[in-house]
Symmetry: C2
Subunit: 153 residues, 2 copies
């Protein structure tokens, strides 16, 4: 019985023998491995920045100055995580921080000129990373996969 058959059986009958539970067929396990592979491809092409750090710079390039919390929402990081990422980018001079004049709770984050240079320089590499990650799929499969993956995320 194939993995797809098991999945169909699971969905349709909502019952299978416990002996049929195979870790390597579970979506969570495969998602984790696919993510690991992507991170590895990313690191091979962009050694001096992590994917979350790149995401922060790329999003700041899109939206301009924003609060740390808002940035976290945009790149799907909770407050504690985004703080660490921004701290490290600040330490490297790629972003600068300032207080919101009206709402003194907010910490505004913006690209420095060095940060803008960096993200502009890295975007072509990021395109290659996306391509290499998707390389096992045909163009048609890529379109299908991205549509379905977006539904899950």
């Amino acid at each position: 019985m194939s993995a797809e058959d098991n999945l169909l059986k699971l969905v349709e009958a909502e019952e299978v023998d416990d002996h049929d539970y195979l870790l390597q067929e579970q979506v969570g396990f495969i998602l984790r491995k696919a993510h690991q592979r992507h991170v590895s491809i990313f690191a091979a092409r962009i050694a001096d920045l992590t994917p979350p750090q790149f995401a922060a710079l790329a999003k700041l390039r899109d939206v301009g100055e924003t609060s740390q919390n808002q940035l976290g929402t945009l790149i799907a990081m909770d407050a504690a995580t985004v703080k660490g990422v921004i701290d490290r980018l600040k330490a490297r001079g790629l972003v600068e921080l300032s207080r919101h004049e009206v709402d003194k709770r907010r910490l505004l984050v913006n690209l420095t000129p060095e940060g803008r240079d960096a993200i502009e320089r890295l975007i072509p590499l990021a395109r290659e990373i996306t391509q290499e990650t998707l390389a096992p799929l045909s163009a048609k499969e890529i379109a299908t996969f991205m549509k379905l993956l977006a539904k899950l995320a």
Copy 2:
């Protein structure tokens, strides 16, 4: 410039303006979000074990006693990561460790009776986690998605 113009340009010239780089459309970013969502669903159903810990127990159930390194290979964890996971499972009495009699480098890992009870009890919940993670997709979409995801992982 319209979206169709961009598409034409992309297809014909294989070159796009850097302004067209959108983080939220990149496979790595969406993979990370899909994985986050799965972990969140997992945590809601299985509060006392993480996905990597569950993976270790589930794989030990499949293959029986193995070395720590071999287990790491089977569940896609490097040696440093698997050590931490096994240490925590050992501290909770779910696995037991012993030295390989012949090859004294190897650290054998096995389920304790408590560990076996735990994984048997959790597998039905794990099925529900898989179902809930895939719930946004139809049965046919699930089959397609799993096939393509496996190619990427």
